[in-house]
Amino acid sequence: MSKQIITVLQLYPKDMNIYGDHGNLLVLQRRLEWYGYEPHIIHYNVGDTLPESADIIIGGGGQDSGQEVIHADLIAIGPKLKAFAEADVPMLLVCGLYQLFGNFFKTSGGKTLEGIGVLDVETHGTNERLIGNIVTNNSEFGDIIGYENHSGQTFLGKNAEPFANVIKGAGNNSKDGHEGARYKNVIGTYLHGSILPKNPLIADFLIHTAVTKKYGEFSTDIVDDLLADLARTNAADRPR
C-alpha cells in the first residue's frame, strides 16, 4: 500500500528563513516519515502560484528588509490563507510572519505595514529588543521552551487568544505576559530555537490535526523523544 501523503507548505523560505526556521520544517518532515506518512514539501516564494490545498502551513522570521520584499505578495495571497485558516488548516507562524498574519505592523519609523488579519493582533516597532531564552506555558502543550529576539511588540485584540503565558522572558511585549496568539488551528509565536525540535508536542499537534482532518485516524507509531526531553530540561536552566 502506498503511503498517505501530507503536504507541508513553507511560506517564503527564500526571504524569511534567517533564524533556524528550517528546523521547524525538518522536524515536521522527519516526524511525518517516522509516523509512516509521506511528506510533500512545497516552498512558496514571492511570485509563485499558491497551491489549492495544503495540510500544514508554516512560515518564519525575516529581517525588516525581508518583510518588505514579501509584503505585497503576502497581501495578494492573504484572502486564500485566511480561507485556509477558517477551514481549520494547522499553521505555525514564527516572528516576522506572525506579525504580518496580524492586522498591522507599525515600524518604529512610523511606517505602517498592513497585515493579512488572520490573527487579531497588532504590532508596534520599538527600540527595545526583547532577547534571550524564554519559557512559556500553555495548558495543552505544557512548558514551551525557546529563544526570542524581536523589537516589535505585539498586542492581542479581542478576537485573539494568547498562545501561552510567559514564565521566564518577555513574550509578545514587555507588559502583559502573553506569548503568541492562537486562532482555530493557527499558532503565531515569537519563539525560535527552533521551536518545534524542543517542543515535539506542538509538532505533533500540527501533524495530528492535519492527518486526522485528511484521513480520519492517526498512526500508532511512537517517536523517541528522549533527546528532546534532555535538551528541554537543559535549556530551561540556562540564563536568559
Partner: protein, 423 residues
C-alpha cells in the same frame, strides 16, 4: 604617551592574571578603566598607522596572515594575537608589547576587532586601512539582524582614512563601496568556478552563489584543489602549495594579500607574498592540528551556520572520528537556532563519536533529525574529550567546537600533548 604609572600597574595585573591562568582580557579591562586614552595614545605613535580587520568569519586567521605578510616585507607589526578581539583585548596585548616608558616598538598595528567593538574603536582611533571580510549570521542575539551588522562594517569603512579592502563576493560588504567617497577601495574575490563552494546566508535555502557581473578585483583566488592554490594578483597568476586547510581559510588568504597590497603599494614583492602565504598555518583552533597518541587531532572552530557548513564541506569526514562540542556562553551566543541551519548529512555515514558541551543535548537532538548516529553524549568537556580519545585510539580525530568549548578543550589537551601557547 601613556602615563608610566598606568603602564606599570597594567603590566603587573597582566603578570598576575597569567600566573593565575586567567584570560587575556582582564588586564586590558583594568587599564581601560583607569586610563581610557591608553590605547589611543599608544597607537598614535605608529608611523604606518592602524589596520582594522573585521567581519563575521575568519578574522583571526586572516590577521595572522596579514601580520606574516607585513613582517616578511620587513615591517615591525603589533597585533592582538589571542583572538581576544574586544577593545580590552587590544589593551591587554599592548601591555605585553610596550616598554616601561609606554613606547611601542612597531611600525604598524594590525588589529582584529569584533564588529560591535570596532565601531567604538574607530571613533577614537580612525584606522588608516581596514579589511572587511563578510557579514554572516553570527550571534544575532547580540547584534539583532544581519543588516545591522552590515551597518557596523560601513561605519568602520567610513572612519578609515586611506584604503578600505572589501570582499567582492559578499553583497552586503560590496555595497559599502557605494557609500565611500574619501577612501580608496580595493576588492578581493573568487573566480566564477569557485563561487559555488561558498553558500551565503541569503542563498542558504535558495541555491548557491551565482556568477553575476561583478567589478574587477585586485586579488582573485582563481583555483583551489588539494592544497594547491592559484591567485591572480594585479592581472598576474601565481600558484603555490599551502599549509592552510579549509576553503574559507584559503579565500581569506586572498583577502590578506589584497590588504598587504593596499598597505605596501609599490613596495609589494609578489615573490615574498607567495612564499609567505605558502608557510602560514591556520590560527589556533581554526583547523589547527595537534598530535595525540600518535594520531592527528584537528580543532575546527564553529560559531555560526555558514562557518559550520563551510567547515563540514572543507574537511572530509572520511577516515576521521568526529566530536562536536557546543557551548552557549556569551562569547558563543546563547541561542541554539543556528544549529538548525546547518546540514549534517555529510556525517550520516560515519556518525559522530562524541557530543559534548553545555548544549550537548541540543546538538544531539539536531543530529537525531539528520539521522546521524551518536556514539556517546557527555556535557562535561574534559571527560568527553578523554572518552573520545580512548574510543578512537587508532584513528585521526576532528573536533568541531564553539569558541569557549575550544578554549577549554585546548587547555585540557595541553595536559597530554604539545599545544602552542597563545597569549
Amino acid at each position: 604617551m601613556p602615563h608610566p604609572f598606568v603602564v606599570i600597574l597594567g603590566k603587573a595585573v597582566r603578570h598576575a592574571a597569567r600566573l593565575r591562568g586567567g584570560g587575556s582580557a582582564l588586564p586590558g579591562l583594568f587599564v581601560e578603566k583607569i586610563s581610557p586614552d591608553f590605547i589611543k595614545q599608544t597607537l598614535a605613535q605608529l608611523p604606518r598607522g592602524v589596520v582594522v580587520i573585521s567581519g563575521t568569519n575568519g578574522k583571526t586567521t586572516t590577521t595572522k596572515m596579514v601580520v606574516a605578510l607585513l613582517e616578511a616585507h620587513g615591517l615591525k607589526v603589533f597585533t592582538n594575537r589571542t583572538g581576544s578581539n574586544f577593545t580590552r583585548g587590544v589593551a591587554a596585548a599592548l601591555l605585553g608589547d610596550i616598554n616601561i616608558k609606554g613606547h611601542l616598538d612597531a611600525d604598524i598595528a594590525v588589529l582584529e576587532l569584533d564588529e560591535a567593538h570596532a565601531v567604538h574603536f574607530v571613533k577614537a582611533i580612525p584606522p588608516r586601512y581596514s579589511l572587511l571580510l563578510n557579514v554572516m549570521r553570527d550571534q544575532l542575539d547580540r547584534f539583532g539582524e544581519i543588516d545591522a551588522t552590515a551597518k557596523m562594517l560601513e561605519k568602520i569603512a567610513l572612519a578609515t582614512t586611506d584604503t578600505v579592502v572589501l570582499n567582492r563576493e559578499d553583497r552586503r560588504v560590496l555595497a559599502i563601496k557605494d557609500v565611500l567617497t574619501d577612501q580608496k577601495v580595493e576588492l578581493f574575490g573568487l573566480s566564477d568556478a569557485l563561487l559555488g563552494d561558498f553558500p551565503s546566508d541569503d542563498e542558504m535555502r535558495g541555491g548557491k552563489l551565482k556568477a553575476t557581473k561583478r567589478p574587477d578585483a585586485a586579488v582573485i583566488l582563481k583555483k583551489y584543489s588539494g592544497n594547491e592554490a592559484t591567485y591572480q594578483i594585479a592581472d598576474k597568476e601565481f600558484s603555490t602549495t599551502l599549509k592552510l586547510n579549509g576553503v574559507y581559510n584559503v579565500f581569506n588568504s586572498a583577502a590578506a594579500i589584497a590588504l598587504t597590497h593596499a598597505i605596501m603599494v609599490d613596495e609589494t614583492d609578489s615573490g615574498i607574498v607567495i612564499s609567505t602565504i605558502a608557510t602560514v598555518k591556520p590560527a589556533f583552533g581554526r583547523g589547527e592540528e595537534l598530535q595525540v597518541g600518535g594520531q592527528p587531532l584537528e580543532l575546527v572552530l564553529v560559531k555560526n551556520p555558514s562557518g559550520f557548513r563551510l567547515g563540514l564541506k572543507s574537511f572530509s569526514a572520511e577516515g576521521y572520528a568526529t566530536m562536536i562540542a557546543i557551548n552557549d556562553n556569551y562569547a558563543d551566543g546563547r541561542d541554539m537556532s543556528w544549529l538548525w541551519d546547518v546540514d549534517f548529512e555529510s556525517l550520516t555515514e560515519l556518525g559522530v563519536s562524541e557530543v559534548s558541551g553545555v548544549r550537548a543535548y541540543d546538538m544531539a537532538l539536531r543530529l537525531q533529525y539528520d539521522e546521524v548516529t551518536i556514539g556517546h553524549i557527555d556535557r562535561d568537556l574534559s571527560s568527553a574529550l578523554h572518552q573520545f580519545i580512548d574510543n578512537n585510539k587508532d584513528s585521526p580525530k576532528r573536533i568541531y567546537c564553539t569558541y569557549t568549548a575550544m578554549l577549554a578543550l585546548r587547555k585540557e589537551l595541553s595536559k597530554i600533548t604539545k599545544v602552542e601557547v597563545v597569549s
